[in-house]
């Protein structure tokens, strides 16, 4: 067990504070965020516990958890936090650190969440826009669950809720350049 006073330098806390712009040390463990969070019951550790882990420098445990992958960025918690901590920004910071440092949560649920986000980003890279029906279809193929949501498709198509064709950004080149350069920048910041 690590105790706060014993930790000489909590680099994890520093990294999270820097990335999120929040000061996690301000958290006084009241738990208001937990009772507010609509998805805390799905999380390995609810927001309050994540805050304490960061304060204690429990990097491994925090980065391997599924909590930040379940955060919806709904900002319900931060609006009520008596210490005005930007909790979704903290969740985002540890998610980005986990991606950068290759901490992989191997549960099916987190894998599927990541798969979806990757499909989304690929689609925007290709077309500059996102397109729901295609995303659904691709998600089903990649997660080997071909029939998920397919009962919705005929009705949605019939009602013109989703369409077969879709629009592209004209300057697709600009979008692809943006992806390449943003990625390069990300890597240079990391290194």
């Amino acid at each position: 067990m690590i105790r706060l006073g014993y930790l000489e330098k909590n680099t994890f806390l520093e990294a999270v504070n820097k990335k999120s712009g929040a000061n996690v040390l301000n958290c006084y463990q009241c738990g208001k965020c937990v009772s507010t969070c609509p998805v805390s019951s799905y999380m390995d550790y609810p927001p309050r516990v994540i805050m304490q882990m960061i304060k204690l420098g429990m990097k491994e445990e925090a980065l391997k958890a599924n909590s930040m992958w379940f955060c919806l960025t709904c900002s319900a918690c931060s609006g009520r936090c008596p210490r005005e901590i930007d909790i979704p920004a903290v969740m985002e910071a540890i998610r980005h650190i986990a991606i950068e440092e290759n901490y992989v949560n191997k549960t099916k649920k987190v894998k599927e969440i990541r798969t979806f986000h990757n499909i989304f980003l690929d689609m925007v890279k290709r077309y500059g826009r996102n397109y729901e029906l295609r995303m659904m279809a691709e998600f089903n193929i990649r997660t080997r669950n071909l029939f998920k949501d397919m009962h919705l498709a005929p009705k949605a198509l019939l009602k013109g809720k989703i369409t077969i064709g879709h629009e592209h950004v004209k300057r697709g080149k600009a979008i692809r350049k943006m992806y390449a350069m943003a990625d390069k920048l990300e890597k240079s910041q990391k290194g």
Binding site: A76, E112, I113, V124, D149, K159, G160, E186
Partner: protein
């Protein structure tokens, strides 16, 4: 005629065509011309900020830069998710001009960013720029008799520091607009609860749980229908409703309409312009309440209902 830069968002030409269409009708009546950002791109919601830092800022920033090429001072955004991404990017860029320079010089190939264009959601535009009084004065067909639950979701009013609009806990702007149209806005405790839209495809069971509660509470509050201002909320609440009913093991059957559909109706546009056939949960029965006398209050029925169910559970 006022001009407003318009960012429709990816769903405007697919899942939420009825929003886009009725928004344009409403703006015509309000004498506002919408000027779409030329060659706009997806703002990256709901995935870019989850996975990346620079891309999450660059996708909205390109739109902000393109918007500055138009003459207008304000941009209106239809989707709450796009609004949130674009407005938080604007805030970040205004506070970190060095970052804006870095991105516009190396990542985005469209010119400079100065930050001169204000961003508002279309709901915010209607409430702040047009105003309830003006809306009221344009009503040709009162919606009296119709009871609505206004659902704002999370991103239209949160976080307060970004949106600078209405209350993050219990907003009333949409309720006031609905009242101006003659409808009755019911007390609705779940008006800012998250519907889980970002998990719509990947973690559908979360959506069923969160959205199920919102639908049940709206029904309990005595509403004929739910009014929304975001395409993602609409498709979660409407398209997934039959699945949620299955999941809950009971019928809810509450239609979900855009605030602009009801504004267009009250401004005298014929019902066929509302594109009602797009709805999965049919709205016709709810709309037939228009003109009927509303029985108030709903509160006592709520408690009456709650007591026997608690008792039966205890048995």
């Amino acid at each position: 005629m006022t001009k407003l830069t318009y960012f429709p968002g990816c769903s405007a030409h697919g899942t939420s065509e009825e929003f886009d269409h009725t928004l344009k009708l409403v703006m015509k009546t309000l004498n506002v011309e919408l000027e779409e950002i030329p060659d706009w791109n997806c703002c990256g919601a709901t995935s870019a900020h989850v996975m990346t830092e620079n891309l999450a800022l660059s996708l909205p920033l390109r739109n902000l830069v393109l918007a500055e090429k138009l003459e207008n001072n304000t941009m209106g955004i239809a989707c709450a998710s796009c609004y949130s991404r674009m407005k938080s990017t604007k805030k970040y860029m205004d506070e970190h001009p060095d970052k804006a320079k870095e991105l516009t010089s190396s990542v985005i190939d469209e010119g400079e960013y100065t930050g001169k264009v204000e961003i508002k959601s279309m709901l915010q535009f209607c409430y702040e720029e047009v105003g309830v009084e003006k809306i009221k004065s344009l009503v040709k067909k009162s919606l009296s008799g119709l009871k609505v639950a206004c659902y704002y979701g999370c991103l239209l009013t949160r976080p307060k520091g970004v949106t600078q609009f209405d209350s993050p806990e219990y907003p009333m702007s949409m309720d006031r607009i609905m009242e101006a149209l003659g409808a009755t806005a019911v007390d609705f405790d779940y008006k800012t609860e998250c519907c889980g839209a970002s998990f719509s495809i990947s973690r559908t069971e979360v959506v069923h749980l969160l959205t199920g509660k919102i639908l049940e509470m709206a029904k309990e509050a005595g509403a004929d229908l739910i009014v929304v201002a975001c395409p993602l909320c609409q498709s979660n609440l409407d398209m997934r409703q039959p699945d949620i009913e299955k999941h809950l093991g009971k019928k809810i059957g509450i239609p979900v309409m855009y605030f602009t559909q009801l504004m267009a109706l009250a401004f005298g546009y014929p019902e066929k312009e509302l594109k009602l056939s797009k709805h999965i949960v049919p709205v016709e029965e709810a709309l037939s309440n228009i003109g009927k006398v509303v029985e108030t209050p709903q509160q006592p029925t709520k408690t009456k209902k709650a007591v026997p169910s608690a008792e039966s559970e205890a048995k």
